[in-house]
Amino acid sequence: MSDAQTMTLEEREATLGGVGTARKRKEDVRFIQGAGNYVDDVKLPGMVFGDFVRSPYAHARIKSINAEAALAVPGVKAVLTAADLKPLNLHYMPTLAGDVQAVLAEEKVLFQNQEVAFVVADDRYIASDAAELVEVDYEELPPIVDAFKAMDEGAICLREDIQGKTEGAHGLRKHDNHIFEWEIGDLEGADKALADAEVTVKELITYQRVHPSPLETCASIASMDKIKGELTVYGTFQAPHVVRTVASLLSGIPEHKIRVIAPDIGGGFGNKVGVYPGYVCSIVASIVLGIPVKWVEDRIENLSATAFARDYHMTGELAATKDGKITGLKCHVLADHGAFDACADPTKWPAGFFNICTGSYDIPVAHVSVDGVYTNKAPGGVAYRCSFRVTEAAYMIERMIDVLAQKLEMDPAELRLKNFVQPAQFPYNSALGWEYDSGDYPTAMNQMMQAVDYAGLRKEQAEQRDKVARGESRSLMGIGVAFFTEIVGAGPSRNCDILGVAMFDSCEIRVHPTGSAIARLGTKSQGQAHETTYAQILATEIGIPSEDIGIEEGDTDTAPYGLGTYGSRSTPVAGAAAARVGRKIRAKAQKIAAHLLEVAEGDLEWEIDRFKVKGLPEKEATMKEIAWAAYNNLPEGMEPGLEAVDYYDPPNMTYPFGAYLCVIDIDIDTGESAIRRFYALDDCGTRINPMVIEGQVHGGLTEAFGIAMGQEIAYDELGNVQGASLMDYFLPTAVETPIWETDFTVTPSPHHPIGAKGVGESPNVGGVPAFSNAVIDAFSHLGVKHMPMPHTAWRVWKQCQELGLTK
């Protein structure tokens, strides 16, 4: 008898390494030995390098460009400008938001560090030397830096290419610098709720401009084989298949002659969803020169030119009864999109899923309107580790709840408990149009409050406040509560597409004769451990150990078409496709098993890794035996082989949620904050790999900490970007980063094949309000309602000073 037959059920489960096991990561083996394959590791024969000439000004007219000196440098192959791209109709490229973005600036530059020319040379040093020699003559124009002034009467028109166009991709434009207005909900109802309310609050909540800044910057290599007419593009692409489609549409090269490869990616967090001028220029240069061209962004370029996030000015209003029942919500957002509308949102959602902003609360009536405007800042508007505009929404509502609690003199946790959507209300239809799939908010909240001894903390805080008042202490204690509901897993094709391609995802699997398998998916991991976790989903479905299932993504020649990895969509969408493809395999396997065991299909039952004949437990066929039979001993008329494909269009999104708490101590005299404690309870439905989930939560919380406490891409009044280097832009080190306590509840998604919801972004969404609420809570007894992020020591100290607390 083989080992497989003598093993106990538990041993077989353990060997399987399926859903629920803390399986060690498959991908680690190469990364810990320096054998990863990131874009900059890829070297092609004859490859040359591209580097950009960038604008020093935020707003200026280009009078002339002279590349002679640059072209004279030995080793320089070409200098591309808008004049070279224009005949190919490539000087502008379409953005995901229905706008266009300049690949190389034509007549005007619209933000500092905008791409003006692309220098191609034998190595990166020569390219960079030559870029310095390109002479660009500019005539400076007044910049618009403050989004609130963009639509002033007489404000200078930034986008002359669309001047006078009164309609954009998302409806009417009210002003030359207006992009769109998007509204949803019941305006009249919300106004009435506010007018009739016993209590109302209103606050301008700004979520500052930040940047995802993964450790690896963006990069691409294009290689045009002129003889075969084939283009290969390697790049830092979170959505490689979409890049292929865009490349085909832009270049006219048929899609089957373009191969896009996203190799290992050194973190994405939304930064690597969009298409950037660097990608396009490397492609064009390779087409022109017929040799491979590599472009690698440096850190300053990364922070100042590709993919900012947030920059939302949100005016929230809540209506409530005296005893704290919320009766209505209204929110207006002024969205600063920078010089081009390059937001990475599904086509019909110019403000993403911001309308999740009723949060976890049963709010009867609500209205949201968003005005997008152009300014002289970098384009982007990506979802930095969150689903589209979900962290902005969560920040707004979670801050507003605290503002309301303060006005009502009610405890913020109690106010949340009082207004939660109740378990019996699911599936819950929110006032702003979403159908929440499942949730149990009170249980999660109570579990959190017990775990941290919430009542005890509040008591301690009161005592501490007294001490400060008596002059016995110089430290203020803040407690930040946040309870978030996300909306992830875009998405149902009825309302989500990217450039017209429905947001499904896919999995293809092939089981080999000896019982191992290869599966390919349309997503692309940037560190989320897909090679590990997808194999676990498949293992549970098809009874083949996860160790024996190879996972591949990122090569458009081999993987099935998918929309990529962002917005926590991999598990909800591609993970569902994996489960379903597994079920297709198992269905065929059952037929083969019936044939092998000479019984009817219905006489079989599934057990971990095999089919057994009901009532005759010794008669069984293991998946390994079935796989072998699939290639040599099939039922009459059955097609040989064991493979399947599934394209999954989810019926709904998933709605992960969680309860977070942060305890902070603030030094009144320095403004420095010390995070004493951070507790995060997440409910992401079925848990595929608890180790990976915990890692995702740690990482997301650390990003949230960075955002709330220090990150900002700021501009001075001339539009000079401040702090676009790691000297100035705050990426937390191990020293400042708090210690994370994690916890969970499990409320499976009813519509997902295995009940999973996605987790990677929850900690960013819930973390930011928890930190911010903690800082502001430290001052709430002194009448402070809101303090803008980031809560740096300087700003907090200034708050102390304004309150007369400093010496």
Binding site: I32, G34, R299, G527, L701, L731, T733, T737
Partner: protein
């Protein structure tokens, strides 16, 4: 541009090459020697992705010119596993404790840990955090990296103890 001849030891092998005076060590390691362990995250000495061990010190290899490494003895993550492929205790620690996600910071973190544990074979968590503070990680939130370092310290200390017994 004028090139200078350089010679150094990398992962136990003598290597040579002709470089410009301004060529950064990281570019020599990656472009001329074809190593893929040391990574570039900033080129401004902030991120630590390019960390290598040079003559018994942790060095951010984007901070040094290749010519400054003349005659130096350099170890990169590629030189950490034993010749038979057995992983180093630090590599094992990172894998066991889930100390990496995208893996981009990992070679630098491992090389920094390597030196840290020689300077301080039994660091406290606080000392580990300070010890790796020149290396940024955007994915893990550091908690599991601290655990990975502790795992490696314990394992290395056990081995030393066994050897002494």
């Amino acid at each position: 541009m004028n090139k200078k001849h350089v010679k150094m030891t990398v992962n136990g092998k003598t290597v040579e090459g002709d470089v410009e005076a301004r060529t950064l060590l990281i570019h020599f390691l990656r472009e001329d020697l074809g190593l893929t362990g040391p990574h570039i995250g900033c080129e401004t000495s902030h991120c630590g992705a390019c960390t290598v061990d040079l003559d018994g010190r942790s060095v951010k290899s984007c901070t040094l010119f290749a010519v400054q490494a003349e005659n130096a003895d350099i170890t990169t993550v590629e030189g950490m596993a034993a010749a038979d492929g057995t992983l180093h205790a630090i590599q094992e620690g990172f894998m066991q404790e889930h100390g990496l996600q995208c893996g981009f910071c990992t070679p630098g973190m491992i090389m920094r840990t390597h030196r840290l544990l020689q300077e301080n074979p039994n660091p406290t968590d606080e000392e580990i955090r300070w010890g790796i503070s020149g290396n940024l990680c955007r994915c893990t939130g550091y908690q599991n990296i601290v655990k990975a370092v502790r795992y490696a310290a314990n394992k290395l200390n056990d081995t030393t103890r066994e050897a002494a017994e």
